[in-house]
């Protein structure tokens, strides 16, 4: 399959998935009892205000009509207005998404930079004390809830040892945030911890699998030194499954971002989503879900493309 038609097909499938997501999410939202009006307007709102709200937001129309209307809006790039923040959802998201992206991308990059070599190292030292120690540490990292980890980080590295601020940089733009890199240290560490735990495991097992492959023996027979075998051959071969996993990890990263954002006072997408969820702010909720799902679908798509780059066999359709 040529790269071109592959891309077209994948993008079409991705669109289908996003459409499916909107349908499911829309139906789920409207299955909620009570509707958002009372929640948004508070206990003091009167019945007529609630009716007016429902009318204004079109919530009194039949569900399919609402969906078609929503879809039509969506096609025109309009995500609606937030019930509570009286701003267009698209604007809210464009303001906050870059910050969250920065955080998640940094966490992911840092996480991978640590996880990948760690996994390889463990595979090489399989069943030696280092392997056991790192395995144990990564399990601990994995099993520590992010909020717990964040609290410990703040306690230790901000209160006891005043090395890093307990707050993420407070600027609004990415540039602002980047201008205070020391503030990013703790949030990024908290966000990267599970990433390290999970991906070092994947990398370890992929490397172990590859170490038993015949081509390793061939390379050894050619006098390639163990280190070079690892870096030149085993590493790349082990990376393919890890890359494939990366796409599916995006929602998890977003989930982590939510907690990290709360903990380190860094209002981003995760927090927006959480607040919207807490306050039944349907348009924001839908917008966030849409963005996250598009990000996930794009992530998997990118992972697929990346796999084709790394592994020429995938492109040729035999793996």
């Amino acid at each position: 399959m040529s790269t071109y038609s592959f891309l077209i097909r994948r993008v079409l499938q991705a669109l289908a998935v996003v459409l499916l997501v909107t349908v499911v999410v829309f139906c789920l939202l409207h299955a909620l009892p009570g509707g958002p009006a009372r929640g948004i307007l508070g206990p003091q709102a009167t019945a007529s205000q609630i009716a007016a709200f429902n009318h204004e937001q079109g919530l009194d129309k039949p569900l399919p009509v609402q969906y078609v209307y929503y879809l039509n809006q969506l096609i025109h790039g309009d995500l609606g207005m937030s019930y509570t923040l009286n701003e267009p959802v698209s604007q809210l998201i464009t303001e906050r998404l870059p910050k969250t992206l920065l955080l998640t991308v940094l966490s992911a990059v840092v996480g991978l930079l640590v996880a990948v070599p760690l996994g390889v190292w463990q595979a090489v030292r399989r069943n030696k004390p280092v392997d056991y120690v790192i395995t144990t540490l990564s399990f601990i990292a994995y099993s520590t809830p992010v909020y717990f980890l964040g609290l410990i980080l703040v306690l230790v590295f901000s209160q006891v040892l005043p090395w890093f601020p307990a707050q993420a940089p407070q600027g609004n733009s990415v540039a602002d945030v980047l201008s205070q890199p020391q503030g990013l240290v703790l949030p990024v560490v908290a966000g990267a911890a599970t990433m390290v735990a999970v991906f070092s495991r994947y990398m370890r097992s992929a490397t172990l699998e590859n170490l038993t492959e015949d081509y390793v023996r061939t390379a050894r027979a050619g006098g390639t030194r163990p280190r070079a075998i690892l870096t030149r051959h085993v590493f790349r071969n082990s990376l393919t499954p890890v890359v494939a996993m990366l796409g599916y990890y995006i929602p998890v990263l977003f989930g982590g971002a939510l907690v990290v954002e709360q903990l380190f006072n860094y209002p981003g997408m995760g927090l927006l989503f959480w607040t919207a969820a807490q306050s039944s702010d349907y348009p924001v909720l839908l917008g966030c879900v849409l963005v996250i799902s598009v990000a996930t679908v794009t992530g998997t798509l990118l992972a697929d493309v990346l796999q084709r780059v790394i592994d020429p066999r995938v492109k040729a359709g035999r793996s």
């Binding site: 948004i40 923040l85 009286n86 703040v154 901000s158 707050q167 927090l271």
Partner: protein, 567 residues
């Protein structure tokens, strides 16, 4: 820390983002923090608040200097002070009329509207001269109620800048026609939705308050700077106020510890480690609210409604609530036992002695006895109605034989204090023989599911509801309970209905008698329309030493102009 004596960093409540400044608002934009910011920019006509420590008319921050009620309590004449907008124009009765016209024509979309209240209570607005006007009422009203709850809602807006329908349009007297008023309203509301333009839009540059906007970000940070043209009595002491928003209390506490906040708050449970904050140069102060906290009964619930309608049953339930211990232990002493509809955190003339005296003191055994005296028998730890009927010593009308005393609460999630209180209540109810199931959900979800309903509605499944982690109901200055407990009241979720109480409530707003409020307080403390619970403090403030000059307003407003560095 702000470092400079010219600035103060104030922490807004966790997870709140300011999103409205316009003195008129549509539903959904109602929030005391928004209101506080708005009032610092555009002073109210009559600021009726607790900024001095007691609830009353704060004349320093009001545009009116006097309000004279007619002898028949059917009109009031108000005098404006000699004040000017920041652009130098005088503030006149025309500016008040502007607000009046807009609200009257658009009352349906006005957030604070409820039928029979403002602006319905005012039949006409008569300008006497630039600084005097008269408002006529549709009938006689209690002066204090009128002043504290209704007139205090009037805001004075710069008609000479705002009376238009687009940014570029010329200003005219559009508000004087209904159609014009609607258009101006729409224009202002629309402009109000553009948060990112708050700092730049020329509309918002003409202010009357001690501060003006320097910056306003959608992620929550607001910077206010002194309005140099301010000519009122409540001028700013500090040049710049920074309002900071926080994602969680924990994040805010971190900022406190890091010293980046001058005026913040901590969780009640952290009161035990007060010292760690005082060591950092803060003092800790409780900020109690003008509010009550309760769990409404759903009197129309098909399973338990009939039981709830029995006063003795409600009494048994109330007797099983140990408010004193709950307040002391679970809230670390930052909650006030409250036994009726009038807030008990502050002394007030509204509170009846009966309410104050705890009409149904905590006693599991008394509660149990009350139930067994009314035809209930304990079976496997749960009370069961064994003697149905409406007569003496029987369960009461509508309660069927074999009914088990089992109730279910839909309680708001996410608060440790609430979770603990529910656990404690469950334990205590069980002691009495009452089963108490707890189901939790986010507060919005709780509110959505706590609707007024008829017996057969599918939405009538809720029995008890709790949405009061931060207080269930914040009152305006005059704590009348019409929306809450009057038959058909907008927020009378459980359809409580008692003709006698209805009469008392009506009296609180219309009669000038000083007994009206205490009578109402006594009646509801005894009739138990809801389960009364301890009222938690609005917040436990942590204030930098040297910052003072103010009292914490129990109406939950903040007043930056009063803040001052004292040393």
């Amino acid at each position: 820390p702000s470092g400079s004596k010219n600035e103060i960093n104030y922490a807004l409540p966790a997870n709140f983002t300011p999103n409205w400044i316009v003195p008129i608002g549509t539903p959904g934009h109602l929030n005391t923090n928004n209101a506080s910011i708005s009032q610092v920019l555009w002073e109210p006509l009559i600021a009726y608040d607790g900024s001095s420590g007691e609830i009353g008319w704060n004349k320093d921050n009001s545009l009116a200097t006097d309000a004279k009620f007619a002898a028949d309590d059917k009109s009031v004449t108000i005098t404006l002070g000699d004040r000017h907008w920041s652009d130098g124009e005088p503030i006149t009765a025309r500016d008040v009329e502007f607000w009046f016209n807009l609200v009257r024509e658009n009352k349906k979309s006005w957030a604070s509207y409820s039928p029979g209240k403002a602006p319905d209570v005012w039949s006409s607005f008569e300008t006497i001269d630039d600084r005097h006007f008269t408002l006529d009422f549709d009938r006689a009203y209690n002066q204090q109620w009128m002043l504290a709850n209704e007139l205090s809602m009037i805001r004075v807006m710069p008609q000479h800048v705002w009376d238009k329908t687009s940014d570029s349009a010329a200003v005219s007297d559009l508000d004087r026609t209904p159609a014009g008023a609607e258009k101006v309203w729409a224009y202002l509301i629309d402009a109000g939705k553009k948060i990112s333009r708050y700092a730049s839009d020329p509309l918002w540059k003409t202010v009357s308050g001690p501060y003006r906007i320097k910056s306003f970000s959608t992620s929550g940070r607001v910077e206010l700077v002194e309005n140099e043209k301010y000519d009122g009595g409540g001028a700013a002491h500090v040049k710049q106020i920074n309002l900071l928003s926080f994602t969680t209390v924990a994040a805010e506490e971190n900022a406190l510890r890091a010293g980046t906040v001058d005026y913040g708050y901590i969780r009640a449970s952290d009161l035990g480690i007060k010292k760690s904050f005082t060591d950092l140069g803060y003092h800790v102060e409780r900020w109690s609210g003008w509010a009550v906290t309760y769990m409404p009964y759903n009197f129309n619930n098909p399973e338990m409604g009939a039981v709830f309608r029995q006063l003795y049953a409600r009494q048994a339930i109330q007797m099983s609530v140990d408010q004193k211990t709950l307040s002391k232990v679970l809230f670390n002493g930052t909650a006030v036992p409250t036994y009726g509809p009038v807030p008990q955190g502050q002394p007030s003339a509204f509170l009846s002695d009966e309410q104050k005296a705890e009409p149904y003191p905590f006693s599991n055994s008394a509660a149990r006895k009350l139930l067994t005296d009314h035809g209930w028998t304990m079976r496997d730890g749960t009370m069961v109605c064994t003697s149905p009927g409406a007569g003496e010593g029987q369960c009461g009308e509508g309660v069927e034989k074999g009914t088990e005393f089992r109730m279910r609460v839909l309680s708001q999630s996410g608060s440790t204090e609430t979770d603990n209180m529910m656990s404690a209540l469950q334990s205590s109810f069980e002691e009495t023989g009452i089963d108490f199931d707890i189901k939790t959900a986010p507060v919005n979800s709780v509110l959505s599911q706590t609707g007024q309903c008829e017996k057969d509605d599918p939405a009538c499944k809720w029995q008890l509801s709790f949405f009061g982690s931060a207080g269930s109901w914040y009152f305006p200055a005059y704590p009348s309970g019409d929306a809450l407990f009057a038959s058909g009241g907008g927020s009378n979720f459980g359809n409580y209905s008692n003709p006698e109480v209805d009469r008392l409530i009506d009296r609180t707003t219309t009669s000038s008698s000083l007994d009206a409020m205490p009578d109402y307080s006594k009646a509801l403390a005894e009739d138990l329309p809801v389960i009364w619970l301890p009222e938690p403090d609005y917040q436990v403030s942590v204030i930098r030493d040297g910052l003072g000059g103010f009292a914490q307003d129990s109406l939950a407003n903040f007043h930056p102009a009063m803040w001052a560095w004292t040393e």
